[in-house]
Symmetry: C2
Subunit: 339 residues, 2 copies
DNA sequence: AGTAGGCGTGGGAACGCTCCCACATTGGTG
DNA sequence: CACCAATGTGGGAGCGTTCCCACGCCTACT
């Protein structure tokens, strides 16, 4: 093993050993323009011999950049590590940042740790911030932007926001689902909607309404029940629907978990899926594959979302324009056996 | 919102506004010893007015510390976000670091991204490194230590390592399990062991042997089958055991997943659990609660492991002693219905 | 009354780097 | 043969902190 130097070698020492000036050594390490081969070789040898590693703090101090980007996930550890959605998004972000030569710094910040998080971010540890899954009314993105840090939010915080976010096109996806149900000849198409105060809830409902109109189906208020995205609430909502309108023959659920709940109720009620009632979910979560029957659902790609977030952030950082418009990602329908 | 300053305020500007010297302002922000109330108040007002945030790079440059610790998880995103074990460990680490006023920087590094990871770590971005779940023969910890960075590994890389790690006391835990089976009057106690080249595999087997000796039960080679920690391998191993020794009445499995596989085989073979055969697992994974019947298992606490890792790392950082002995965490038996 | 000690303070120096300007040294041109 | 441009180079300045030394002032001793 190499001897542990009491103090880490500096650029000056590298330059001295290589017999060149500090400037030349710096040029070799960075851009590398306009350096003679002789000098370059000497510097590279010296770096190898001393085991030199540039000091990030010193560099950041003068360049005012760190080449690192924070991914802040404002959720409890349990949820983060529970939902496969996060794995995909993190994978997409990681890959995109790696090919842009940026380091990913993942920060988990549940509510309790908010204060220290904000401090950390504004201290110029990172050049930009990706924010995931914050709860509706959070002002965190604006506060961070207030400190001059570019921010991109995954999923819109609320429907009004028009800048600096990447989200799945929920309206389009829900429309796809309804069009598909209509296509299958369903005439009484119900929805189990999500909470109205969440963007995913309200805009998927919006897409449902638009889809009905486009397919020339009437909108019937009795065919709308709201759940809270949990499996239980889906099961309950389905019971309500069957009671209100026994002739229901198609259901669009705002997420897969509620759809699984609905399937369960339908099975208990003796309705065949998809013969009697066709069911479509949203998300294409792993459970959609393993449910009985496997679920037709609107596919959203977390990987693509991660990559888009990075692209938007890099663009914001490059242009300095904090008001870049948000981006909507298209979805597609995955037809399985439930419809 | 506050006006966005073209350039962020510096300590010097704060000091000027407060009508004090740079030194005094610095003293207010840090330790705060020996500052008059008048000066302190003036500086604090100035900080608030300017929205001053200390520049981390500048501070790190002179103090040679960043007050940040990296948690490197050397696994694919899928596994990290799939295993509940990680959630617990990250939670423990997060809490421990927060109360020590250190920032947690989570870095996911699958094999492909190794190079840039090592660079990042040695560039003085963090003061110490916590390493999780690296594969057996990895030399990463030593290479990082070679750069003068303290490292603590979660789970021993291999049985020979005696420093800088925190691990569950597998030997003790396995002993507990066997003692329990003996206590239940089982006389033919078999084991479904893990791979011999993994620490968790070999040391749990070691504990099994010790447990037999302590309980005055003979060691019988025919009662040992190795699996690979998967449910399938557990099911297969159990079939082998039943075939070799139909009178087997107790089984210690090196992890819960294999235990679940064993339960499955036993059910198919018409053996009652626990009446005919008692089964004990290791890990206390969530599946242990939901299996049929619920699994008696050796509980290990990922939260405690995380906290211990942080404690050991902080101690290493404080003393500068990179050869602190590793720590073994005790386990306890959780008795459910499978024994 | 004179002095020793403490407390609070200001500001120079240093941390290790990049930026940039000025200075060779070359080769080619009028 | 003088001149200029291009090329490569060295090193000063400065990034925003903390550390530390030296200085003034006040209090409380001898």
């Amino acid at each position: 093993m190499a001897r542990r130097p009491r103090t880490r070698p500096t650029l000056e020492e590298v330059a001295a050993l290589a017999g060149v000036g500090r400037g030349t050594a710096s040029r070799v390490i960075n851009g590398g323009a306009k350096v003679s081969d002789r000098a370059r070789q000497a510097v590279e040898d010296a770096i190898a011999e001393l085991g030199y590693v540039p000091n990030a703090a010193a560099r950041a101090l003068v360049t005012r950049r760190t080449d690192a980007v924070a991914l802040v996930i404002a959720e409890s550890e349990e949820r983060v590590f529970g939902e496969p959605f996060f794995a995909g998004i993190v994978r997409g972000i990681g890959a995109a940042l790696a090919s842009a030569d940026r380091q990913l710094v993942l920060i988990l910040a549940d509510a309790r740790r908010r204060g220290s998080l904000e401090h950390y971010l504004t201290r110029q540890h990172v050049d930009g911030v990706l924010l995931l899954s914050l709860h509706g009314d959070d002002t965190l993105p604006d506060r961070i932007r207030g400190h001059g840090l570019p921010v991109v939010v995954g999923g819109r915080a609320s429907a009004g926001v028009r800048t600096g976010f990447v989200d799945v096109d929920n309206v389009q996806g829900a429309g796809l689902a309804v069009a598909h149900l209509a296509d299958r000849g369903r005439t009484r198409i119900a929805t189990i909607a999500g909470p109205a105060d969440m963007v995913a809830g309200s805009s998927r409902f919006e897409g449902y309404v638009e889809g009905l109109t486009a397919a020339d189906r009437p909108f019937d208020e009795r065919l709308v029940v709201r759940g809270d995205f949990s499996q239980d609430s889906g099961a309950r909502a389905m019971r309500t629907l069957l009671q209100r309108e026994p002739a229901v023959d198609g259901v669009f659920c705002a997420n897969d978990l509620m759809a699984v709940g609905a399937l369960q109720t339908l099975r208990e009620a003796g309705r065949r899926v998809p013969e009697d009632v066709a069911v479509v979910g949203f998300e294409d979560a792993p459970v959609a594959r393993s449910s009985v029957p496997p679920l037709t659902t609107v596919h959203q790609s977390p990987g693509a979302m991660g990559r888009e977030m990075v692209a938007l952030l890099l663009e914001t950082m490059a242009t300095g324009d904090m008001t870049l418009p948000g981006r909507m990602l298209p979805t597609r329908l995955v037809v399985r056996q439930s419809s």
